[in-house]
């Protein structure tokens, strides 16, 4: 099985909300101090989905990351988890793109990679939460796509996918090649082993610039965008929490119940 996984480096979505700052005058996020970026949550699960197939059937996993200022220890995490190859689309020209430019660049890179049976993407990036790139890549490449996957099994040139729905899940079959977007219901991704981390340190990623994959300046980053960001801001938040105190945690618990009763909430 030849598998491709698209993985994005993002600001850590688990950083405390209090550390999140927006520069409204520039419509930009101010990266939180001292909090390193990570691989987007659902992309890590996309890597896990590929690894589960590799565990049982073998195969090759190529990870593709597009962005700027890609920290090697961050983007190499999929390698440390067990992926085989890493290709970076890293260039200032890629900056400030949108779902269209990202999907187009990734699809173009995938065309250059050439051989694949299945492409995995996270269901949405944990920064802009758009959830379009996977479907966009599939549309550009003319592939069938299945979104919101929580389980993927492959055999005989077909994939059987469990897809999350509003009231449960559905089981969908598709002939490969296909693209699947992965949701967190797939489960926790594996932690890299020490041996994996050491091996990943020695692997050099392949670097592609827009010209290497035949992309023109007008097709990538800001010039290529189909959407325009008019405003980015933080909603004003007024929080007033009454902390119930007591001599012991047990007493505080009881006092909380009494308070809720007094306030007619219970």
């Amino acid at each position: 099985m030849n598998m491709i996984v698209c993985a994005k480096q993002v600001i850590d979505p688990e950083a405390p909300p209090a550390s999140f700052k927006v520069d409204s005058s520039a419509n930009k996020v101010v990266p939180p101090q001292g909090v390193p970026p990570v691989i987007s949550t659902f992309d890590e699960q996309a890597v896990e989905a590929a690894l589960r197939i590799k565990d049982t059937q073998g195969g090759k996993i190529t990870v593709l990351s597009l962005g700027t200022n890609l920290l090697r220890e961050v983007v190499k995490r999929p390698l440390a988890m067990g992926a085989d190859e890493l290709i970076l689309l890293e260039d200032e020209a890629f900056a400030e793109g949108d779902s269209w430019t990202t999907a187009f660049a990734l699809a173009t890179a995938i065309k250059k990679i050439g051989e694949y049976d299945i492409i995995f993407c996270g269901r949405q990036a944990a920064d802009w939460d758009s959830g379009q790139v996977g479907s966009g890549i599939a549309e550009i490449l003319g592939l069938p796509s299945i979104t919101l996957a929580k389980k993927i099994d492959t055999s005989d040139g077909k994939a059987k996918v469990e897809r999350v729905t509003a009231d449960g899940y559905e089981v969908i079959e598709v002939s490969l090649p296909a693209l699947v977007t992965v949701s967190n219901e797939l489960g926790e991704p594996r932690y890299p082993k020490i041996t994996g981390i050491m091996a990943a340190k020695k692997k050099e990623p392949i670097l592609w610039k827009p010209a290497d994959i035949g992309l023109e300046a007008s097709q990538v980053g800001t010039p290529g965008r189909r959407t325009k960001l008019i405003k980015l801001f933080q909603p004003v938040h007024e929080g007033k929490c009454e902390i119930i105190e007591a001599e012991s945690p047990e007493e505080a618990g009881a006092n909380l119940a009494t308070k809720l009763r007094e306030s007619k909430i219970l």
Binding site: P17, D127, S145, I146, F233, C241, P249, L256, K259, I265
Partner: protein, 332 residues
């Protein structure tokens, strides 16, 4: 070439009726259409959905495009995309709205790439710019830490709308409208997927979305065992149990209990948050609660910026005492 004119909303059907999201989209679409001076259309795609066209009119549509075909019985990307393309060719809308549902999340992006336009997903506000007459598309980003407003130059402008973000109109049985049947004309061989099975989630007791009281646990619960205490409390309060993403990803509780950006969005009267930090992604799901109460050992936890009442400390000591007192008070 026909100009891009009307507003179209994608209607979803649940158990033989228009889904809540459909009426919400009609409410939102009506406002936009009135401001633009154009028509509001609904599209119903499926099998045996024609009878619901009138209901869409009652809830605000001027026109309903119906694509009714046995091949469309189950949602599948390839077939529904073709059906939408057909309708869009005929209707030439300037705006298409879908729900941010498992269908909308699948159909909207692919449709926007197919039509060479752009989509903005999970909008919580939509407005017409008074000068440009373009759609101002507001959506939460960075897990809910910020809001972004987007526009796009291409037509149609496609958006998915978050559930419960927009109010539906009052149904008006006297409303008149036009029903247009569109032939799907789908070649079965062009549908590249096959739905093998549909598995409904097993819900014990009250559905999370309907519960007036929800007791929710996070990573701090530590395992499936801990959730039993939350279940007991929710039973006493006649509510439901919820969870953040980590307990679900770890398999401590079923995935259907997840409340949040990629889980369920709920608005109970009372939300008891136990050992959960209150991340923005989670608060996207729980923020609609009338009253939030938090128990967490970390005084810096974000949940204390969201809650009305809180106790700082070990939930394992606080919760049993809280539950006992609740039992006592409710018995009075």
């Amino acid at each position: 070439m026909a100009e891009y004119k009307d507003v179209i909303i994608y209607g979803e059907v649940t158990e033989g009726k228009l889904s809540g999201i459909t009426t919400e989209l009609l409410g939102c679409g009506r406002k936009l259409a009135d401001e633009l001076g154009c028509k509001l259309c609904a599209v119903l795609i499926g099998s045996e959905v024609s009878n619901l066209a009138q209901e869409a009119i009652v809830f605000g549509a001027d026109k309903v495009y119906v694509v009714d075909d046995p091949l469309l019985k189950d949602y599948q990307t390839d077939s529904y995309l073709q059906a939408m393309e057909k309708v869009t060719e005929q209707a030439t809308p300037q705006i298409i709205l879908l729900g941010q549902t498992s269908v909308g999340r699948d159909l909207a992006p692919r449709l926007s790439f197919r039509l060479n336009t752009a989509a903005t997903m999970d909008c919580v506000d939509l407005a017409i710019d008074p000068e440009s007459k373009r759609l101002l598309q507001t959506k939460p980003v960075f897990g809910g830490n910020a809001l972004a407003i987007f526009t796009n130059e291409s037509n149609p402008q496609i958006c998915t709308v978050r559930a419960k973000a927009m109010p539906p109109l009052e149904p008006d049985a006297s409303r008149q409208g036009e029903v247009i049947t569109v032939d799907a004309g789908i070649e079965p061989s062009t549908i590249r997927t096959k739905v093998l099975e549909k598995v409904p989630e097993e819900v014990e007791g009250i559905k999370l979305e309907d519960a007036k009281v929800v007791v929710s646990g996070g990573r701090g619960i530590g395992g499936a065992e801990g959730f039993k205490q939350l279940e007991e409390l929710s039973r006493i309060l006649r509510g439901a149990v919820g969870a953040t993403r980590p307990p679900c990803d770890n398999g401590w509780v079923p995935a259907g209990l997840q409340v949040g950006l990629t889980g369920k969005i709920i608005s109970p009267d009372l939300y008891i948050a136990v050992a959960l930090s209150g991340s923005s992604q989670h608060m996207t799901g729980a923020g609609g609660a009338k009253t939030i109460v938090a128990i967490n050992k970390d005084p810096e936890a974000n949940i204390f910026r969201e809650a009305r009442f809180g106790v700082i400390g070990d939930w394992k000591k606080i919760l049993p005492a809280f539950t006992d007192k609740v039992k006592e008070l409710l018995a009075q």
